[in-house]
Amino acid sequence: MGRLQPYALFAAAIVLPLVFSNGGFVNFLADAGAFVLLALGLNVVVGFAGLLDLGYAAFFAIGSYTFAMLASPQFGIHIPFWVMLFVASGVAAVFGILLGAPTLRLRGDYLAIVTLGFGEIVPQTFLNLSQWTGGPNGIGSLDQPAIFNFRFGFQALPYYYLILGLIAVAVLAASNLRASRLGRAWMAIREDELAAAHAGINTTTTKLAAFAIGASFSGLAGCAYASKLQLVSPDQFGFNVSVAVLSMLVLGGMGNIPGVIVGSLVISSLDRFILPQLTNFMHGFGISIDLTNSRFLIYGVILVLTMLFRPEGLIPSRQRKAELRAGPDVLPAEQTLYTEAAP
């Protein structure tokens, strides 16, 4: 990325909904933006630190429900939106640490399964604790943000700019972290955890930092998305969501911020534009198949094809491409059942 490119793109993003001001399109942009935020968060965990989290939707759920419970008629608590951004991301970060802690000694695939388990446990718990969480119906009538006298209301445009702002913060945070002591520590752990420990890196705190920071992004997304949607319910946070976000990373290029953003936008567009257009296209040929219901099939195909033919993603980081194309006997650390055997 050139030095000026990010700023140009950001300026374009600001102008975009003013040029294409179709309400449905702006709504799509805002929703897509929330998922960009989620993808950036998962990217910290998976892309930077190499911890394959298959249950990331759990943190999205935690962020969203935290907002819903503290800024709605549910308990009569109405913490201001801008404070909630901090509260929700903080709570999500804490849970990032809690849910990450059990996975610390586990090797890659076991870690993935445990996070998957948590990804199931969390929404199920929200569903079960219905006196507090509204059960299957969830919580509605959530508070909306307000700046001075301007209340956000039901238009998508202000939410879009809010989310764009959050994305800017997230991108800045992520790129700062990557080029820092912590970022190097994450990379080192990903490459060879034992050698990293011998360089004085406390693998426990380093991994927990990845979980916490990654989770905090979904806390931000949770606030924005929940308040825009005006509803939080358990079925918004299933495995499908975790896989969708993971697909964004895999397709776009894990570990690479521009790649992740592009991957996220492509997958969001899939739903909104590409599949309906393809369906129409097929209809034109007399093939009446409805592709809009096949989004999960498409995600699956994307995952498989990408890993088989372009595992580094659409816009890879140079490092990742080299790692994934290198073949056998390059990553020494994954020989054994455990990572560090030390007490």
Binding site: I113, G117, Q124, Y299, M307, L331, T336
Partner: protein, 303 residues
């Protein structure tokens, strides 16, 4: 106490199904160290295939007499063969290329594969649960205050029988020995002249066939099926495999029955809604405190 015994019976039959699925997980993990995410969906496919075969045979309810044995054998074998082939195809298409890739790659591919299978099944029979014919007459057997359904006996007997056959194959035949060798040290096995590709394909064949058998049994047991069954059942079966000791056949069996018991007890004592949470918590706890499982050996790290 009676309640306990009843749940014991329920748990054992639930567990039989999980055990059959867990065997496949553990075999595949043992040989290529991959958590075959799609395995749970192969199990559901087994139910779907069974349904198709039964429909072909014109079976819609209970079958009596000697015909019953024919129907059961044909359907189960049919499901096993079809699932076995599915497993082989999946391995060939999706996993073989990635055998030497960083381990996250095949895992992600497996997830993708799982999604594909689930959606194919959704297209095939729709998004709602589908009824499955009863097939076997199901008189209850009463032992004191405990009621055992015939199909529950069927599940357990079948699971144990298949496991005995599997063990015999793995420990007494040349192909089985090749599987064990490949699982222990792939390169050495190759140097000894073992065809790795065939051996791995065979493992997938057998593991998936067992899942197919579980699929058939599950259809009879639950009386219905659903395209999304495999996800939850797969996770629980994987928990069973880990609990018993991943890579260990007896462990998978033991783990399966234990998980079945845990699920039955939780459903009884707390509620059905929490049984998933409890089983997954077991997974987390096992992986934290005893990752080698009940029957696995602790492997110290070699530096």
């Amino acid at each position: 106490m009676d309640l306990f015994l009843q749940q014991l019976v329920n748990g054992l039959s639930l567990g039989g199904i999980y055990a059959l699925i867990a065997l496949g997980y553990t075999m595949i993990y043992g040989i290529i160290e991959l958590i075959n995410f799609a395995h749970g969906d192969v199990y559901t496919l087994g139910t779907f295939f069974s349904l198709a075969i039964l429909t072909l045979l014109g079976v819609t309810g209970v079958v009596t007499g000697p015909l019953l044995i024919v129907v059961v054998v044909v359907t189960m074998l049919g499901a096993m063969i079809l699932c076995g082939l599915t497993g082989v195809v999946i391995e060939r298409l999706a996993y073989r290329r990635l055998r030497n890739a960083p381990r996250l790659a095949p895992l992600i591919t497996a997830i993708g594969m799982s999604f594909i299978l689930e959606n194919v099944m959704q297209y095939w029979r729709g998004p709602s649960p589908i009824p499955f014919p009863q097939v076997i007459p199901n008189p209850d057997v009463h032992l004191g205050a405990v009621t055992i359904a015939t199909k529950q006996i069927l599940v357990v007997v079948l699971a144990v029988a298949l496991m005995i056959v599997l063990r015999a194959f793995v420990y007494r035949t040349k192909l089985g020995k090749a599987m064990r060798a490949t699982a222990q040290d792939r390169d050495a096995a190759q140097l000894m002249g073992i065809d790795i590709n065939t051996t791995i394909a065979l493992t997938f064949l057998i593991g998936s066939a067992l899942a197919g058998a579980a699929g058939f049994v599950s259809g009879v047991y639950y009386g219905s099926t659903w395209f999304f069954n495999g996800f939850g059942a797969g996770l629980k079966a994987f928990t069973a495999a880990v609990l018993g000791g991943i890579g260990n056949l007896t462990g998978a069996m033991l783990g399966g029955f234990l998980i079945g018991l845990i699920e039955a007890m939780t459903t009884q004592l707390i509620s059905d809604q929490w049984s998933n949470v409890v089983v997954f918590s077991v997974l987390v706890l096992v992986l934290i405190f005893r990752p080698s499982g009940l029957l696995g050996e602790s492997l110290p790290a070699k530096v």
